[in-house]
Amino acid sequence: MVDHSELQVPGYEIPPEMQGQVVITTLDRIYNWGRRSSLWPMMFGLACCAIEMIAVQAPRFDLARFGMEVMRPSPRQSDVMIVAGTVTKKMVPAVVRLYNQMPEPKYVVAMGACASSGGPFKAGYNVVAGIDKFIPVDVYIPGCPPTPEALIYGMMKLQEKIDKQSIRQVRWYQKGPDSVQIPVPILGPDLIDPRRAEELKRIAAAQAQTQEG
């Protein structure tokens, strides 16, 4: 948490007539303070965890206390993608496309066992064993589904992560492309990750050889 009294005492002598009227702080801190206090999640639910995500928005847990109640249906307007539920092979192209459509700065929270690792469904033929195989994840929240308290704690961890970022190093102010674009997986006989196309081809060829031999 940002200590607000600290915000007003930057270590400079402030003339008495200005005290209480100006705030002096570092750019990083005010920038991060703004971002962390209005994290807009994408309205995006995949499975069971999405229900707990809605419960967190609901009266008892009230995520609005953290400035996160504005669920945006469009990825273009959202800051954080809560991957709430099992990611299937059929769905993962859409998830990656949504991630690509989000503007920087963007964060990903893997909510629940399925999004983190495949969870109870990992053995399934249509299940992606963790969304981190495709998009970078900032916070993992364990649980099946995580309780609302756990989700709130995970979001607070994300706030802590934001607090530690510096405007000088963040990737969206560096030279080069604005945003990380991840190649969208393709549905073939199984899920094809374009980044691994060469490797898949090589292993499939090796398999064919061992079958012949």
Partner: protein, 578 residues
């Protein structure tokens, strides 16, 4: 309660050439010759009154036979009939489609084609449904192995008794949950293959036959769309704003319950049923427990029966409240009504948590009872809810919403479905009852102890979305009546008839357990071969079967009404895609 029993139906006498009784030990019903299937099915519907086809599924009796299993019921109530078609297990496996007789078989037959590779001859639109076009193989066949295949059945030798830990990825050549045909080359693959057949099936609607030269457009809703209640996708052909054709595309949450379920032991499947309809884990548990208890032939103690009823009715109440809240969301009353609904839901979840230890994934039922008794404090809370708070809140919902002008004008006359169509499409649950068919499994074929309670089967007659909404309020009130009686009558006593055990002994045979889940008829078809794992574990999910009629409901309405209709059918993707 005395029930009139109809004389047992002797199909073999009616069709001596085509039907013979299924005499395998533990099995029941009839085996129909493939060539006479349509004839027998027509007679069953028209002569014998089995108008509601509940479930169609396949079983792979590797290595010889492939079997298609049909469960049909009468909407006037009473026990159902099960009949099967056996075909040799050699491609092409072909069975006539029963869609001309029961339109509700359409998606279930597509599922059987997708997962088992049974080709239904005469099916109007036989495409893959849960996986995608181009997927290699039919996953529920016994000789099809998933990429993370380790052994046929749990407990795996690597984990028990010694427990040697390894990552599933290590044993897979692709180091991931992947499996490609040998010599597969990703560069030769055309990426649009998955949707080509879908758009081809819509092409005939694109030509407009009126004199004005207007274009019809195809629009895609989902799989990520704020109003589709999850990862549901629909592709609609529009004439202006009016829906001309609409195809649901599902499978975006296909989590392979059935394949995983065949590897699991019987008891290990219980927590997986929680994750089907994740609003109503208590009801799902019950349906599965019912099916396995039928196979095992065990009884449930009195107190456990009452606890089951209490939990199931509570989950019905919270399901319907959420549905109403979310329906208003879809209408544009953004969030406020659903906040009201979630407030009540939390109070009900408190009781679930106190009894089972978990808010959502309760895993509460066991074969022969429930896992633990309800604590006295939770019972006290429950009484407060049932006798005081919930009746007031239902009235409040009623007062705030029912007469609301916007709600009425958006819902009245939308999505209209006749009783005949609803039955033809195998629709069950509140939607069927709102079309004027008083069919409720709790009355039609009482399970548990529902024959002891005094309640009305809620029924409405217009079959539009407004009635679908009203019937939810009616059902909440009826559930409160049942809860009132259940709490008063509940005796003291044990909650398990057997001693808690990790491994249950299930004799060979088949069983179909079905309950009136909040969304419709939820059935589990379980086949055991005497081993610790089910040979076949099939879920007849109400959401999945109910959306068979989605196109019928939407055609002629505006595209904005599609969202409302979909919301009011009450689908949940965990159960729809399984």
């Amino acid at each position: 309660m005395a029930t009139v029993t109809a004389p047992a139906l002797d199909l073999a006498a009616r069709f001596p050439q085509a039907v013979r009784p299924d005499t395998r030990p533990g099995y029941s019903g009839w085996i129909v010759e493939k060539d006479h299937l349509l004839e027998v099915a027509t007679a069953l519907r028209d002569e014998f009154g089995y108008d509601l086809l509940s479930s169609v599924t396949g079983v792979d009796y590797y290595p010889d036979t492939m079997e298609v299993v049909y469960h049909a019921y009468k909407t006037t109530g009473g026990p159902g009939i099960v009949f099967k078609v056996q075909v040799p297990r050699q491609d092409p496996i072909e069975v006539p489609s029963v869609t001309p007789i029961w339109a509700g078989a359409e998606f279930q037959e597509r599922e059987a084609w997708d997962l088992l590779g049974i080709r239904f001859v005469g099916h109007p639109d036989l495409r893959r449904i849960l996986t995608w076009e181009g997927f290699a193989g039919h996953p529920l066949r016994k000789d099809w192995k998933e990429p993370f295949y380790e052994e046929e059945a749990k407990p795996y030798k690597s984990r028990w008794p010694d427990g040697k830990f390894f990552y599933a990825e290590e044993k897979n050549p692709f180091k991931d949950n992947l499996k490609f045909p040998p010599d597969f080359n990703p560069e030769d693959w055309t990426p649009d293959k998955a949707d080509a057949l879908l758009y081809a099936s819509l092409a005939r609607y694109l030509k407009s036959d009126d004199e004005l030269k207007t274009d019809r457009v195809i629009i895609n809703l989902g799989p990520q769309h704020p109003s589709t209640h999850g990862v549901f996708r629909a592709v609609a052909v529009l004439d202006g704003e009016t829906v001309v054709a609409l195809k649901p595309v599902v499978g975006y949450l296909h989590r392979n319950h059935e394949k995983i379920g065949e590897r699991n032991t019987f008891l290990q499947n219980m927590p997986f049923t929680d994750r089907l309809d994740y609003f109503n884990s208590m009801s799902n548990n019950w349906a599965y427990a019912l099916a396995v208890e039928k196979l095992m032939g065990i009884q449930v103690p009195e107190r456990a029966e009452y606890l089951r009823v209490i939990m199931a009715e509570l989950s019905r109440i919270q399901n319907h409240l959420i549905l109403i809240g979310m329906l208003l969301n879809d209408l544009g009353a953004y969030f406020t009504p659903s906040l009201y609904a979630f407030e009540e839901r939390e109070l009900i979840l408190d009781i679930f948590e106190a009894a089972s230890g978990s808010r959502m994934m309760c895993n509460y039922h066991r074969f022969g009872g429930v896992v633990r008794d309800i604590p006295p404090e939770a019972l006290q809370k429950l009484k407060g809810l049932v006798y005081d708070r919930l009746p007031r809140k239902v009235d409040e919902f009623d007062r705030l919403l029912t007469e609301n002008e916007i709600l009425v004008s958006r819902l009245k006359g939308v999505g209209k479905l006749s009783a005949e169509d609803a039955i033809r499409y195998s629709i069950t649950g509140p939607v069927l009852r709102a079309c004027g068919v008083p069919y409720d499994v709790r009355r039609a074929e009482p399970y548990g102890i529902y024959d002891r309670f005094d309640f009305d089967v809620a029924v409405r007659y217009n079959g539009d979305v407004y009635d679908w909404y009203l019937i939810r309020l009616d059902e909440i009130r009826q559930s409160l009546r049942i809860l009132d009686q259940a709490i008063r009558q509940m005796p003291e006593g044990p909650v398990m008839s057997t001693k808690p055990q990790y491994q249950v002994r299930v004799p060979p045979g088949e069983a179909y357990g079905r309950i009136e889940a909040p969304k419709g008829e939820l059935g589990f078809y379980v086949v055991s071969n005497g081993k610790p794992n089910p040979w076949r574990y099939h879920v007849r999910a109400p959401s999945f079967v109910n959306i068979t009629a989605l196109e019928k409901m939407c055609v002629g309405n505006k595209i904005a009404d599609f969202v409302v209709i979909l919301g009011a059918i009450d689908i949940v993707l965990g159960e729809l895609d399984r």
